[in-house]
Amino acid sequence: MSTEEKNGGPSHTIAVLVENKFGVLAKVAGLFSARGYNIDSLSVGVTQDPTVSRITLVTRGDERILEQIRKQLSKLIDTIKVMDMVREDTVQREMMLVKVAAPRSARAEILQIVEVFRARIVDLSAETLIIEITGDDGKIGAFLELLAPFGLKEIARTGKAALSRGPKTLKSTKG
């Protein structure tokens, strides 16, 4: 199943520049939980300006809810900028580690899938493999679908990172 249309409408990626201070992430997360909005994934990291962090979050809802989310995020005192990351105009990637059951008999087939998806094997044991893969929603979803029949033991995903294509940037106009 694609992540597009589970419950609560299509998914959207939003990038937020915030002050790089403790407590800011809690406020952003609190805003979502207080209003009952979904967060599908969230990733945070410092930017080229060490006083500014970038949060990339994936959420879900109709246009009215999305507008509220945008407005509520903009209203936080520590928010510097909010931007919709529209799929067509942005590059979006996520990294996933997946541990899959891999008895000797199944290895060849798994290795073939890994090859086709340009994923990497990063750990190997008698019964399992850990595979690292980077991609957009579609790629990661398809990869998981193909691995599922072998038995997915554990999955860890980083959450999405997204940048606009071309010279356009999400500038922080601080100070």
Partner: protein, 442 residues
């Protein structure tokens, strides 16, 4: 709860943070902030630097841009087309200091004005254009006007659910205009046709320069007929009626006083039966429903405006929560006139239990309330206890003349209800004007 908060870890941050705190609290949509100063910082030493740096202009509290002239133009066009316009004026008017601008606008354009609970005092309660409060315990004529209007101009009200009732039946015939300083409030609950982001005072000033005077005989006539035919009312049965006590306070003060309240039925009656004639004359807690707010708020109001008479209209339940503040009133001899409309019930809860829970009065009855007059005397504060309607006026007059704090414990009809009422979850068009007929009479 706060708009923002700080934890100070280095004494040298204090000056900058305090300046920033004031800026955040007062900038954009105002709101409370908290600065946490730990014990070690409180006792540390530092140099005072009047030029201590403040963080740059924060995006969320930057000065508002000028309101969009095109949107204002749209509003003016809508006003020219409208036959039945109504203004819904909220707390934003008071926060913006825009009462004079609102009065000029409403009178010039001949548009009736409804005030939210927290907007009370933003428009003179005695003006013929005033329609009182909307929504759950609003006046019948305000709710009729909301249901029938073809243009609703919301000036600094956040379309709270107590105001709108069921959103899907709110102002169905109207073009909806929303002026607010907080973008997140516009379109949040009610679909808005003409959004205007900005300070409502700037918007009103711009409107006042452009609006042409008009006559609206038919609509104003209709509204006046509703006011005449469906006034606020209550029955007589020989008991002390809480609404009557408030009417007497209104007569004695002429509305020229500050009024604080607790939370509950008494608060609704105060909003319905008092006529506030200036902004900030009504000191009441809104959606947060802070019982116990009244007494401390009234003491604070008197310190803030020593030139004004200050009355507290409180419930027995609310008063009990913070009555220890009588010590403060006594210590500084603060002349607040505390009126307790004592129904020996958490009345607002009881009303819901009566109407929606088959009269199962669970944990709302307090027959063991203390003698509040005696408690007052215990603090060295003058106390009155009133059980007889005929004493109401004279006790209020004595209190008004007393040089110091007074507590008046009025034993009112215990099962009086607040009418009209829009039941929770219903639309304003489903307002009940008066008690439903008893089962047997149906």
């Amino acid at each position: 709860m706060t708009k923002y908060n700080w934890l100070i870890k280095d004494v040298r941050q204090i000056q900058g943070v305090i300046r920033e705190a004031v800026r955040v609290a007062t900038g954009g949509r105002p709101g409370p902030v908290l600065v946490d100063i730990p014990k070690d910082i409180q006792t540390a030493r530092t140099e005072y630097n009047p030029q201590a740096p403040v963080r740059g202009p924060l995006p969320a509290v930057r000065q508002m841009p000028e309101p969009d002239a095109k949107a204002i133009e749209k509003l003016i066009e809508a006003m020219e087309r409208a036959e039945r316009p109504v203004i819904l004026a909220g707390a934003g008017i008071i926060k913006a200091g825009a009462s004079a601008e609102l009065a000029q606008f409403a009178r010039h354009a001949q548009i009736p004005v409804i005030n939210t609970l927290l907007g009370m005092g933003g428009f003179p309660g005695t003006d013929p254009l005033f329609l009182g409060m909307p929504g759950m315990h609003g006046t019948a004529y305000a709710n009729f006007a909301l249901c029938e209007c073809d243009l609703l101009i919301n000036l600094g009200a956040r379309f709270d659910d107590r105001v709108t009732g069921k959103v899907s039946s709110f102002c169905l015939k109207a073009v909806i205009v929303h002026v607010d300083i907080d973008a997140a409030e516009i379109g949040k609950r009610v679909k808005t046709h003409i959004p205007i982001l900005g300070n409502v005072r700037d918007v009103l000033r711009s409107l006042n320069q452009q609006v042409r005077p008009v006559e609206r005989r038919a609509w104003i006539g209709q509204v006046e007929a509703w006011k005449r035919d469906y006034p606020l009312q209550y029955g007589w049965d020989g008991s002390v009626k809480p609404q009557y006590v408030i009417e007497q306070i209104q007569e004695i003060t002429g509305g020229d006083a500050l009024f604080a309240t607790g939370v509950g039925q008494h608060q609704m009656w105060a909003a319905q039966f008092l006529r506030f004639n200036e902004p900030r004359a009504f000191v009441s807690s809104g959606g947060l429903g802070t019982m116990g707010f009244g007494l401390p708020a009234s003491i604070g109001a008197k310190f803030g405006r020593p030139d004004k008479e200050v009355w507290l209209i409180d419930g027995d339940g609310s008063f009990a929560m913070t009555l220890v503040e009588l010590a403060t009133a006594a210590m500084y001899n603060v002349p607040v006139r505390a009126v307790i409309l004592n129904n020996a019930f958490l009345g607002m809860v009881r009303q819901w239990q009566e109407l929606f829970f088959g009269k199962r009065y669970s944990h709302s009855h307090y027959p063991t309330n203390p003698d509040f007059a005696k408690i007052a005397e215990g603090y060295g504060v003058k106390g009155f206890s009133v059980r007889d309607v005929d004493q109401v006026r004279s006790v209020l007059e004595q209190a008004a003349d007393h040089d110091g704090p007074v507590v008046m414990d009025f034993h009112v009809n215990p099962e009086e209800n607040v009418w009209p009422m829009v039941p929770a979850g219903a639309g304003n068009d489903e307002m009940q004007l008066a008690p439903p007929a008893p089962e047997s009479a149906r």
